[in-house]
Subunit: 297 residues, 2 copies
């Protein structure tokens, strides 16, 4: 695990540097919106999604730099979803990653607009010719389309809607699986897949990496549920066990903690199996999959 920790640290630094460079400066007018955007983007995220996009592009023979605008756009979309999730009308959270949520600092109106702005900026960034040294326009259009689909009503937003509808209700496993696959799974899957497409992977490689993304998206979410139960509040930097307090459905609640761990392991194994086609070029993605269930925050 030493190597993969270094890899994560190095790629995270690249993503952080890219975000700092691509996002408009806080000195722009009107400053409030740029401050609100940067506040949440630089609130200590692990950059899981951009790193997955980069790792997928590397697995098909490209470099991190080749897909950096895409990687940063994915993180902007993830951040927008967190800002809107935390709003009083939705989850009404005061803290995220140990810091006040966006609307607690900048007010509700600015938080709504900062979320809108990050979502919008993601597409501005992906489509910005200045940032692409070499990029096939057909592939870029496909990626922009697929990312939008993945985070739209048949993906992330759909999962969020159902999650809100189910709050306080006793739900069954299929509904929980729908929420997980859509609310968090779709963006993780499209991160891997779009990195592979933009990286010029063959159809078979893109399909293999898409399968990998589907499985590790599930593993990631089950682990989030597990960490919420057994995690250390300080490590996670947010109010834990709140899922329990609100009766929000989680894997541990529905199938128990031990069975949740079995399912997370199984999802990681399935993700790793999907990489067979890539041989040695899948090594980093294999380690990443293992790391997902080994992490403690």
């Amino acid at each position: 695990m030493v190597d993969i920790r270094c890899y994560l640290q190095e790629r995270k630094a690249l993503v952080d540097e890219g975000l700092a460079r691509f996002l408009p400066e806080e000195e722009n007018y009107p400053a409030a919106i740029f401050q609100a955007m940067r506040y949440s983007v630089f609130a200590g995220g692990k950059r899981v999604r951009p790193i997955l996009a980069i790792a997928a592009a590397e697995a098909v023979g490209r470099t991190a730099d080749d897909v950096l605008p895409l990687a940063c756009a994915l993180e902007c979309i993830h951040t927008y979803s967190l800002i809107h999730d935390d709003l009083p009308a939705l989850d009404n959270d005061d803290y995220r990653r140990g810091r006040l949520t966006n609307h607690k600092v900048f007010g509700e109106a600015n938080a709504i607009l900062a979320g809108d702005a990050l979502l919008t900026f993601a597409f501005e960034l992906m489509g910005d010719a200045r940032h692409w040294k070499q990029c096939v326009p057909e592939r870029l259009v496909q990626v922009m389309h697929e990312v939008a689909y993945a985070v739209g009503t048949f993906g992330m937003i759909g999962g969020q809607v159902v999650d809100l509808q189910m709050e306080g209700q006793d739900i069954e496993l299929p509904a929980l699986q729908y929420i997980h696959a859509h609310k968090t799974g779709a963006l993780i899957r499209t991160s891997v897949r779009s990195g592979a497409i933009l990286g010029g992977g063959s159809p078979a490689e893109v399909e293999a990496l898409t399968d990998y993304g589907t499985h590790i998206g599930l593993a990631f979410q089950i682990m989030d549920d597990i960490l919420d139960v057994r995690g250390d509040e300080q490590l996670m930097g947010k109010a834990l066990r709140k899922d329990d307090a609100r009766r929000k459905a989680t894997y541990p609640r529905l199938v128990g903690l031990a069975e949740s761990e079995v399912r997370a392991q199984a999802a990681v194994a399935a993700g790793i199996a999907a990489l067979d086609l890539l041989g040695e070029r899948g090594a980093v993605l294999r380690d990443l999959a293992q790391f997902i269930i080994a992490r403690e925050s």
Copy 2:
């Protein structure tokens, strides 16, 4: 004006038909989000922005069908901006076009998500290869990028932020001009411009149409301000003179009603002058510009 009314009616029917076809059906799961999206998209909009995109594409030799997905995407973005504008944390409006606003019908959480979904869907739609018979990918990437820029922090969202900051304050004309140019002007300008680009206009044609879009965007907003003062409440279908009640800055408040009309006329004249290059092919756009200041709602 008879001809332009027919033109508007015909193009509006095309846009309405396109929106009905492109937008996901309400029967999809989870139904609430699809209902909320369609509720606001089919709430009686005049389809000004999509019609401008179509007219610009026609002016450079293409048909409405050639740019219909773009035209519909622009209307989705416009609708998202209205839904979020109306939210309690922003303008807190109960009615729009004579109907309850989205959050009054579907609740605040669904309204936030329906706005997010329409913004997201706009990019999904623009990037959807199934909808483009013939389209140069480079141009499509440029258009997606430019539309995102126009409705982002340096365009529509920036205007919205400043508009909220200025509420209740005595503001000067330059601040009002910033708000108008960004909050409504940027999307109108990019509608004309992106129709011209996707329609394959020459660089000179695209620049001429961009100038036109800038001027009529201003004319459109000044007329909105004027109509808010002198308009008939029933015709407009919303609570009028609320700008005055909230001390929101408008042209009539800052420069008077007569001078506002002079400025709207001047903006229309400047827009028409920008069309010189197009000769006869600019006829419809000329009539459209005239119609903007002749309209009564």
